[in-house]
């Protein structure tokens, strides 16, 4: 029952909330923090209208643990926050990874460390891609660059979460969350609203065996087995890595940038192309798994790289790891607290292009 294409003009935050409802998310647990407040505000009325439930939790710690509980029952559930709140959610995210609970978490990245500011930043890249809590784990991470992509990837996030029994993070920033754009909402078909039939805790009705959702493995060798199992799952995601390549084919210099910065870099690339300069853009869409193979293929063609991030150099590590046997990447930092324009990126790009 795909709806007639209809255009709506919404903020990234609202697009994510709408995407979650389209994906039949039924529980939302939130806590106020700028710049993501539109998500819990929207959910407080719309989730209830959609037959689900909304709780404003007492803290991000509690919200993330509510998510753990709801998702353990196999119901599509979600929480959202911004950087300081994300630090508090890490405990529950580690437990969700350890006990393989599928859930969707949104971080509208703001400036840090500490209270930082409420403007856009990408300083949470490490936390978002390395497993920000304790223990050896990863989770799937999307880095949408446009409001439409935020909507689309939110729907996809729920599918990935349930297919792989993993928390999935959507990493945006204050630009994406607060920017209004026209999007075409769509309704995915055939969503399995009881996605955890073979594992979720739903009660031992009919005398079935009891089920446990847990991350404690004390018996000898048990935890190693669980770690091995989890790592095999993370390794299997390598084929799910996604990226956007723009004008990379004949480019001499590849700009690597994700999310909002990827989009701003794209504008700069367009301008250089008009001037006949051979610049292209490589924009990871999945930040974990990182699209390393695609990047390596570009390195093998002898291209040079410049990574631009709204932080002091985090994703550049992944870029360098991907191309390490062949090439290297330059890095240009945009400091949090600034809203970069395409013009500001021209000088560093030009310098690299001219080999200075």
């Amino acid at each position: 029952m795909t709806k007639q294409p209809e255009r709506i003009f919404v903020k990234g935050n609202e697009a994510i909330a709408r995407g979650a409802l389209a994906a039949k998310c039924k529980c939302f647990f939130g806590y106020p923090i700028t710049p993501q407040n539109d998500i819990p505000e929207f959910m407080s009325t719309e989730m209830v209208k959609a037959g689900g439930d909304f709780v404003q939790a007492e803290s991000e710690v509690a919200a993330a643990n509510m998510l753990l509980g709801a998702a353990a029952t196999g119901i599509r559930s979600m929480t959202s926050s911004s950087s300081p709140g994300m630090s508090l959610k890490q405990e529950a995210i580690s437990y969700m990874a350890g006990s393989e609970v599928p859930a969707v978490i949104v971080n509208m990245n703001r400036g840090g460390p500490g209270l930082g500011d409420i403007g856009p930043a990408q300083g949470d890249y490490y936390q978002s891609t390395r497993g920000g809590g304790h223990g050896d784990y990863r989770h799937f991470t999307f880095g949408p660059g446009t409001v439409q992509e935020a909507y689309d990837l939110t729907i996809r996030a729920f599918d990935i979460a349930f297919e792989h029994r993993t928390p999935v993070l959507i990493l945006g920033d204050a630009i994406l969350g607060q920017m209004k754009e026209p999007i075409t909402p769509w309704e995915p078909e055939n969503i399995d609203e009881e996605g955890g039939k073979d594992w979720a805790i739903t009660g031992r009705t009919g005398g079935r065996e009891k089920r446990l959702i847990k991350s404690l493995f004390l018996a000898e060798g048990e935890l190693a087995g669980q770690n091995r199992h989890l790592q095999a799952k993370y390794d299997s995601w390598v084929d799910l890595a996604e990226c956007e390549q723009f004008e990379t084919e004949d480019a001499d210099l590849i700009i690597c940038a994700y999310g909002s910065i990827g989009r701003i870099a794209k504008s700069a690339v367009r301008k250089f192309r008009k001037e006949g300069k051979k610049v292209g853009l490589f924009r990871p869409i999945t930040l974990y798994p990182f699209p390393s193979a695609e990047l390596k293929a570009l390195a093998e063609q002898g291209k040079r790289f410049l990574t631009i991030e709204h932080n002091l150099g985090q994703m550049v590590d992944d870029v360098r790891l991907a191309i390490r046997t062949i090439s290297d990447s330059e890095f240009f930092p945009i400091y949090p607290g600034n809203l970069p324009t395409p013009d500001e990126l021209e000088e560093p790009i030009l310098k690299c292009l001219e080999g200075k």
Partner: protein, 256 residues
């Protein structure tokens, strides 16, 4: 006496799994488990139960009760159970928590779940110490009580006073039932079971949040024999933590 005349008068509840526990001799966690198991059977709740376990000596509760369960991080059980109940409102949801778990690291979660009036039940085992980690001071440790982190005895001036959780919980709007029982003797165990039944009923008929504190012995960390531990509950704990029902609106038809 022929076999025919023998009558079984005391058996393991079906909801309690037939296996040895890891508890120390004289530990009261096993009694608390059994009371919960008996009620799950008697109230026919086992198949619709979604239990939230916590971190403490009772962390393996899910190996002893035959119900579906999710393991919460230390102190977070009331938040996890909130999520469980909101996602599956037709199920029977309870948490089982120690005093370090509930009254220290999980203070925010228990207060707000209670205040929201979540339709869930809480079994709170107060043994005045952090049992699992080796007997450190808990928020419920009595003044003068020696623990590994209050070797000279808990000092009120620098370490505060033991927290009376049942009284605090009873003061919150969303709470339908709050009571304190004790597991030191048969009489008190019977009363404790009545409290638990009332708390469970409050959830089943949608009245509100039910909370039962159980004064429990930890002979190991109290460095006592099981009998001395029972006596300590009578002589030291009950005078500070009085037994009884602190709130019961179950007869009044519920709260919004």
């Amino acid at each position: 006496m022929s076999e025919m005349n023998e009558k079984l008068v005391f058996d393991k509840p079906e909801s309690v799994i037939d296996r040895a526990t890891h508890y120390c001799p004289g530990c009261h966690h096993g009694i608390a488990h059994r009371l919960v198991g008996e009620l799950l059977d008697e109230m026919n709740l086992a198949e619709k139960t979604l239990m939230t376990t916590s971190i403490g000596c009772s962390v393996f509760l899910y190996n002893y009760l035959n119900v579906d369960a999710v393991e919460a991080p230390h102190g977070r059980a009331p938040a996890v159970a909130t999520g469980v109940k909101r996602a599956r409102p037709d199920h029977f949801v309870f948490t089982y928590q120690g005093d370090g778990d509930l009254a220290s690291i999980g203070m925010a979660e228990i207060m707000h779940a209670a205040n929201r009036g979540e339709k869930m039940s809480v079994v709170f085992v107060n043994n005045t110490v952090y049992g699992m980690t080796g007997g450190q001071m808990a928020p419920t440790t009595l003044i003068g009580q020696k623990t590994t982190t209050s070797p000279a005895g808990r000092c009120q001036a620098t370490q505060g006073s033991p927290i009376r959780m049942s009284e605090i919980i009873a003061s919150l709007g969303g709470v339908a039932y709050a009571a304190r029982g004790s597991l030191d003797c048969v009489k008190n165990i019977r009363a404790a079971k009545k409290h638990l039944r009332k708390a469970f009923e409050c959830q089943i008929n949608g009245t509100g949040f039910g909370f039962v504190e159980l004064l429990s012995g930890c002979p190991t960390n109290w460095k006592m024999t099981p009998i001395q531990a029972n006596e300590r509950i009578q002589t030291e704990m009950i005078p500070y933590f009085p037994l009884g029902v602190f709130k019961d609106i179950s007869e009044e038809g519920g709260i919004c």
